[in-house]
């Protein structure tokens, strides 16, 4: 459609309802994309299997953002052009931020399953909803477990991406409050490397008895292994980006007993065992990071459209704001005025024989 041709956007009452998902499929975070896409596909298939929404099928359109702002903007525009009605993507905060106004202008609600930096919230945009726990919620959960474990000196390790640094810095703030455990060090590592001995040297020099890694599982596994190899005996905990069986297999024996802060997962949620099984059967590998959020994102979108009775952006946004008690992995949903989860639903998991199991529900 050109300037002369006029718009002929799809969006009328016929044909499938199109959901758009912007995720990294290439570039440094390419490993994450497939997990999220698979989960979304699964949800779409299930919903369509039950007859779809408003009598229409769901269709998922995925675009690569390569975790890069410019690619993301092009991708978002592509989704808009293709007539997407709800966006259910967003993983890297840096790449997601510039897409907000694009979806905003097109009046498309965004359910962001993974990206959760404060900047997304701070703009108070009406069309933006975050269904991942926020950094501060995760930090609170981490703090609770650190205190409960009776740790005294905590090393916080992040990978200098906004997501990871946010959790680490927020945890540090909590630790810095008088009384209780202390933050021994805030250490940043460079992602995508193999050898973290220099960082570990810094960490061990502060003699912490608790290490909290807030980055992703690839580096996490290596760091855990190298920490243990260097003789570290204290507790180790990782953030939700690291909750993947891969973490345990990279870390090997060193991974046993590692804790994690994580929203409820199918493994820990009663009645969800079947979900894990069907996912694994369909895709040949176990769910990974943000699989359940992506799955929930699609389901939530369907629910909101159903409640709104239409695909019109404003109506869907109103429906999302009105949702109350919709059952997700992270618990029953009701958005805060900020359009975030009221409680992150964070729990503490632990690695047992290579798998994450519930350690403490932090209730």
């Amino acid at each position: 459609q050109g300037l002369l041709g006029g718009d002929s956007q799809a969006g009328d009452g016929k044909g499938p309802i199109v959901l758009g998902m912007l995720i990294p499929q290439s570039g440094s975070e390419a490993a994450i994309g497939p997990y999220m896409k698979n989960a979304a596909d699964l949800a779409v298939e299930e919903i369509n299997g039950k007859g779809g929404v408003l009598g229409r099928k769901l269709e998922l359109k995925v675009a690569d953002d390569a975790c890069d702002a410019q690619t993301a903007v092009a991708g978002a525009n592509k989704l808009v052009t293709e007539g997407v009605q709800v966006s259910v993507g967003g993983y890297c905060s840096g790449a997601t931020l510039p897409t907000l106004p694009i979806f905003g202008k097109a009046n498309i609600p965004m359910i962001i399953p993974a990206a959760n930096s404060q900047e997304l919230v701070d703009q108070h945009l009406k069309h933006v909803f975050l269904i991942n726990g926020t950094g501060s919620q995760q930090a609170t959960a981490a703090m609770a477990w650190i205190t409960k474990r009776g740790a005294k000196s905590v090393a916080l390790v992040h990978d200098n991406t906004s997501y990871s640094k946010d959790i680490a810095v927020r945890t540090q703030k909590l630790l810095d409050e008088p009384g209780g455990p202390e933050a021994a060090i805030l250490e940043a590592v460079t992602p995508k490397e193999s050898d973290y001995s220099a960082n570990i040297n810094n960490i061990l020099a502060k003699k912490p008895d608790f290490v909290y890694w807030t980055g992703y599982f690839q580096e996490g596994g290596l760091i855990i292994r190298q920490l243990r190899q260097s003789g570290y005996k204290g507790a180790i905990m990782v953030g939700d980006g690291s909750v993947s069986e891969k973490l345990a297999s990279i870390a090997g024996d060193a991974g046993e007993g590692v804790f994690a802060t994580m929203t409820q997962t199918p493994d820990t949620l009663q009645g969800a065992e079947g979900w894990v099984a069907s996912y694994t059967k369909k895709f040949g590998s176990a769910p990974g990071p943000y699989t359940n959020q992506a799955y929930d994102g699609v389901r939530l979108a369907a629910e909101a459209i159903k409640n709104a009775g239409a695909t019109d952006g404003a109506k869907v946004i109103a429906a999302l704001e009105g949702i109350d008690g919709f059952q997700m992995f992270s618990g029953p949903l009701k958005f805060t005025p900020d359009h975030t989860l009221s409680a992150g639903g964070f729990q503490i998991l632990v690695v047992k024989s290579g798998k994450f199991a519930l350690q403490d529900a932090l209730k």
Partner: protein, 297 residues
Amino acid sequence: MSQLIWNGLFVGSFYALVALGYSMVYGIMKLLNFAHGDIYMLGAFTGFAILGAVGGISPGMALPALLGVLVVTMGVTGLSGVLLERVAYRPLRNAPRLSLLITAVGASFTLEYGMRAAAGADPQVYPLRLGGTSAEILGARITLQQIALIIVAVALMVGLNLLVTRTREGRAMRAIALDPRTSALMGINVNAVISRTFFLGSALAGAAGVMAGAYYGKIDFLMGFLIGLKAFTSAVIGGIGNIPGTMLGGLLLGLLESFGTFWLGGEWRDVFAFGVLILFLSVRPTGLLGERVTERV
């Protein structure tokens, strides 16, 4: 302190190992072989595939098994390097030097995303681990594997240096680097020498890939990118095309990173390392051991 130095040396010797091949290829063709890091990645995955095909290996056999895998992998990556040169670089021998940069980046993408298609985007866990029996030496915790790795790196460096400075093959390599046309007039088979150089350089990168896989335990399709850059950096600091210089460059980079992390924290590490490098190069513009070329006018 001694731990810092040791860490730096160890990481540095990895850089050096990859950089040696980089430097040889660079030395002979003045080519920024962006795909070199990906050959390293290819090596890691080749080793992974072989180990997977062979099946379980008892811990006692780990070291000999690793050696076997190493040799096979070196052959495979060496040939891949030769093939790469044949397909993507040789036809451009007479094109502007930077044209090769494009095919190099193209080859790098092709290898990376080809591997992604073949093995998936998810990292793979090496089936073979070098366990860590460590000892305290001079206040630093050192593992046996680390020592072995450094010995291998140094031995390769010494051998390569002898090859390049003492042998006829080495002279031919240097001559080609200076003037391929005239080299041909000396009876040097330029294509063959370049192929052999690529073989050697790529085999070294492949070996480094397997060692990295076995030592760190995790491999993924993008693992070569960063180390490729670091190898390039090491090769340049050392003095381009100079083998001992490259080795020293790798070690220096490792040390800079180690001390940068210690003094300024992990987030400023690369700023520190590059900052020092820039200062250093502005004082010594031809790198650590680079020959000062006095060009006649």
